[in-house]
């Protein structure tokens, strides 16, 4: 846990999310949210700082949602508890659905 938190630095995430805002921005937001292991309580302050750096709300939605719902670090635990198939279906479905919602959000704004 600590290891990921140190090496996926906030500066790196901010650089990735702050500049891109199109479909790529959403995708990157989701992937970063899934890979970076951030405490749920820390997601929101961090997202707030991203907004001030120029990230759009659609990207932030994608990022916060996947940060909470999908985690590379939680995958092994999820497989142990709920089974491989459940884990695969849940994570992929969540990823796709969040992408679609974030896209709609972006188009509506």
């Amino acid at each position: 846990m600590g290891v990921i938190q140190i090496f996926v630095t906030k500066e790196l995430v901010a650089k990735l999310l702050g500049t891109e805002s199109g479909i790529w921005g959403i995708l990157i937001g989701e992937i970063v949210g899934a890979v970076a292991l951030i405490e749920p309580a820390a997601v929101f302050p961090f997202s707030g700082s991203l907004i001030s750096k120029g990230a759009t709300y659609g990207v932030i939605y994608a990022f916060t949602s996947t940060a909470v719902l999908i985690g590379i670090a939680t995958l092994p635990a999820e497989i142990t508890f709920m089974g491989k198939k459940f884990t695969v279906v849940r994570n992929i479905l969540t990823f796709v659905l969040i992408f679609l919602i974030a896209l709609t959000w972006k188009l509506m704004m």
């Binding site: 405490e39 749920p40 309580a41 302050p45 909470v68 709920m82 279906v89 659905l97």
Partner: protein, 301 residues
């Protein structure tokens, strides 16, 4: 449980190895890592304790039957009404939710309900003030409201996919099985086939010709404990007919699965005489009780 402990030990060892590698290259970073890990653990500790408390409550009070009534496959829209809203109120991290969802599943909640449950949990009501402070009320409200339809969609779509992939609860219809359709583990089907080799029309004549009919709904390790055979033996001993036996098992590959799910079954006792009925029913109740099978419903018609 053994596997769980083994996995946990593996992850701890893996974490320590990575940490060791980090320490070799940079001492300052490794102390930082240790600090963060300690903080994360301290934060998680109380949440874990409270979640396990809840699991205990569920294990003690919620029966599989209640669970399948509200969160099971047949619960319909009810399961989503609960699973897409209530978890929003919960806090904690995904690590702490997984043991909870596992115990829900063991108690008979369907995959769709659990998918909706986990998705809705990302609403995180305890963190809403924090979210609003940093991202504004508009974003917070839209995001929280979006959680509910998202959870329902994931629940419905996920259940359809998982049903196709994992296999749906099987309905062992003996009328059909007699015509050569194999639905579950071959040896069990053969046994059932042998003892209750009845076709639909024969079943109807027996039921309508009987003087007294009682329908039983039972729940427990029915196939594992060989209940159909035991009931059949009983039936031939007391000379009544046992028909329309239907067994529902929660998972297609239950016989190879190490996890245990209770199965459900329905059968009809058809007596030719009215006088011996209470004796027959008593015998059935005894054998079910001896095998820890629960009688959910008993209905005369």
């Amino acid at each position: 449980m053994k596997r769980l402990v083994k996995d946990a030990v593996m992850y701890i060892v893996l974490g320590l190895v990575i940490w060791g590698i980090v320490a070799v290259f940079s001492v300052s970073k490794s102390t930082q890592v240790a600090k963060i890990a300690y903080k994360a653990f301290a934060n998680a500790f109380w949440i874990i304790v409270s979640v396990f408390f809840f699991i205990g409550l569920i294990q003690a009070w919620v029966t599989p039957d209640q669970m399948s009534k509200y969160l099971g496959k047949t619960a319909g829209w009810k399961k989503f009404a609960f699973a897409s809203t209530v978890p929003i109120l919960l806090g904690g991290s995904l690590f702490t939710m997984l043991p909870l969802t596992k115990s829900l599943k063991e108690k008979g909640a369907s995959n769709g309900a659990i998918l909706a449950f986990l998705t809705a949990w990302s609403g995180k009501a305890p963190l809403i003030p924090l979210e609003a402070q940093f991202l504004g009320w508009k974003f917070t409200i839209i995001r929280t409201l979006l959680i509910i339809p998202t959870a329902i969609v994931i629940g419905i779509v996920g259940e359809v996919i998982l049903d196709k992939w994992e296999g749906v609860p099987v309905k062992v219809d003996l009328g059909k099985m007699a015509e050569g359709e194999v639905l579950i583990g071959e040896s069990i089907v053969e046994e059932l086939n042998h003892e209750f080799n009845l076709r639909e029309t024969e079943v109807k004549t027996i039921v309508s010709g009987a003087k007294h009919r009682v329908e039983f709904n039972i729940l427990g390790d029915i196939l594992e404990k060989n209940i159909p055979l035991k009931l059949a033996e009983l039936a031939s001993k007391y000379d009544y007919e046992l028909v329309k036996l239907e067994v529902y098992t929660p998972s297609l590959n239950f016989s190879t699965d190490e996890k245990k799910f209770p199965s459900k079954a329905t059968f009809v006792l058809a007596s030719k005489s009215k006088e011996d009925v209470s004796e027959h029913i008593d015998a059935i109740r005894r054998i079910l009780e001896d095998n820890d099978i629960k009688i959910v419903k008993e209905r005369e018609f």
